[in-house]
């Protein structure tokens, strides 16, 4: 599942600074091998994640989006992930209305010590996105498409 044996897809990960980013770091320090499709964006808290971040990623061509924060009750800011949970759950249910497969978006909780769990989450999610294949893009502005065609 690396770039060596299949085409890499674009997966965006929004990770909270205090738990999941640390968890990903732990996984790295522990040398747990992971697929390389995930690009990580570090945010202060899962409560910082505007659902529009995810929608913008998916409309902009991401094949999958993964959000990860501290476990409920373990938020560094006490309650950020509680608000995030409600927003992200609503967003996940909304995606099919747009014609986007809801499996392209997942959210989960990984603590800073859970390097192994992080590896598992990345592997499982990357496999899921590879199962779905590349996302079909949304049309750009007509004039941009002409420019892109010329550039090619």
């Amino acid at each position: 599942m690396s770039v060596l044996n299949t085409k890499e897809l674009r997966i965006i990960g929004f990770l909270c600074n205090w738990c999941s980013y640390g968890g990903a770091d732990t996984a790295g320090v522990g040398r747990f091998t992971q697929p390389t499709d995930l690009r990580v964006v570090r945010v202060p808290c899962s409560g910082r994640i505007n659902p529009l971040f995810i929608l913008k990623s998916l409309l902009g061509g991401a094949d999958g989006v993964l959000v990860s924060g501290c476990h409920p009750r373990d938020c560094h800011y006490a309650e950020g992930n509680f608000y995030a949970r409600r927003r992200l759950e609503l967003l996940k249910g909304f995606l099919p209305v747009l014609g986007i497969d809801p499996r392209r978006f997942e959210y989960t909780w990984v603590s800073a010590s859970e390097g192994q769990r992080w590896q598992h989450v990345v592997e499982a999610f990357t496999a899921q996105i590879h199962g779905l294949g590349p996302a079909r893009g949304w049309p750009e502005a007509p004039e941009l498409e002409i420019l892109n065609a010329v550039a090619r």
Partner: protein, 321 residues
């Protein structure tokens, strides 16, 4: 027209100690009423309620903050007011609501469809109401249409025809049209496959001219000149003329209304190119109702679901990894 006269009397009474009452008056053409800001007895004479009273007067409330204002409201307008109050965007004690039983409002697009190209809605010279029908004088003679055929979609699923939160209610309360909104329109839409839905939105949004009438008509879009869609920092939207940016604006609107939208349908009515933008908002409303049992604008004392949380969320089934 006794209800009409009774409402006028109530407005005149309200004007004794409130500077402005917002309602509806005769519009530029017989099929349309227009918002009316009544400040004296002469203005009250132009007041009209009933089948043409389409606009949602709650739209003007955030800009009336700090000034005692009275509104004449339908059931759906009262819900918008209720949501603004619940979010503390307007103060209830600065408001005076005059309610009346609403029996549905006109959808001019449906009239246009019924006229079948024989004439434009703008060519209608007179509209008369006769019980459950309206009679239109057109260049080609009289046309009789049943009100239920040309009423807005939202009226067919109306649960709150009476402005329950009104300070004074004129007339007799009506029974709700339905007890439960089944979201049949969404269920219909969801018969499409994911690919077909995507193609649907691409086709619909390709007509969008980014006039933002949907935003300007929305009573809960309170940011006005500070809308993120017009901001450069963060730069959510480019000026590109593509479906992606057009759709993304609708997603901004829909996500910002999640758990707040009362389904008044003003966005969709205001759209000059007929994009079904309310569908996106109703998709969120249905989920909020199922997940949190919350309906926007009904109870001003309940915190909107996205402004609060519970430690355990029994309705949220998280994925097991």
């Amino acid at each position: 027209m006794s209800i009409q006269d009774d409402i006028k009397a109530a407005i005149a009474k309200a004007l004794q100690d409130i500077p402005c009452v917002i309602g509806w008056g005769a519009g530029p053409e017989p099929l349309r009423a227009t918002p009316l800001f009544m400040r004296n007895a002469a203005d009250v004479e132009n007041f009209t309620a009933g089948f043409l009273a389409v606009n949602n007067p709650a739209l003007y409330l955030p800009s009336c903050k700090g000034v005692k204002t009275a509104l004449v409201v339908k059931g759906c307008d009262a819900r918008s007011v209720g949501q603004l109050v619940a979010e503390n965007l307007v103060k209830r004690d600065e408001l005076y609501l005059i309610g009346y039983p609403c029996s549905g409002v006109i959808d001019v697009d449906k009239v246009a469809a019924r006229l079948e190209g024989k004439c434009e809605p703008g060519e209608v010279t007179r509209l008369r109401e006769e019980n459950e029908d309206v009679i239109l004088d057109t260049p080609g003679g009289e046309v009789r249409l049943a009100k239920k055929d040309i009423a807005a979609d939202k009226c067919a699923r109306c649960r709150y025809p009476n402005a329950e939160s009104a300070d004074v209610f004129i007339g007799e309360k009506r029974a709700p049209v339905v007890d439960q909104d089944e979201y049949a329109d969404l269920a219909d839409f969801e018969k499409l496959s994911l690919e077909e839905r995507k193609a649907f939105w691409e086709k619909e949004l390709s007509r969008c001219i980014r006039c933002y009438a949907c935003r300007n008509a929305c009573p809960l879009c309170v940011c006005r000149d500070h809308c993120v869609a017009s901001s450069r920092e963060p730069h959510w939207l480019t000026q590109a003329d593509g479906v992606r940016d057009k759709l993304f604006f609708q997603l901004i609107h829909a996500t910002h209304l999640a758990g707040r939208c009362t389904g008044c349908g003003e966005c969709e009515r205001a759209c000059p190119v007929g994009i079904p933008v309310l569908t996106l908002k109703r998709a969120f409303s249905r989920q909020v109702e199922d997940m949190f049992g919350y309906m926007a604008g009904i109870d001003v004392n309940t915190t909107p679901p996205l402004l609060t949380f519970r430690l355990e969320e029994p309705e949220i089934k998280e994925r097991e990894w």
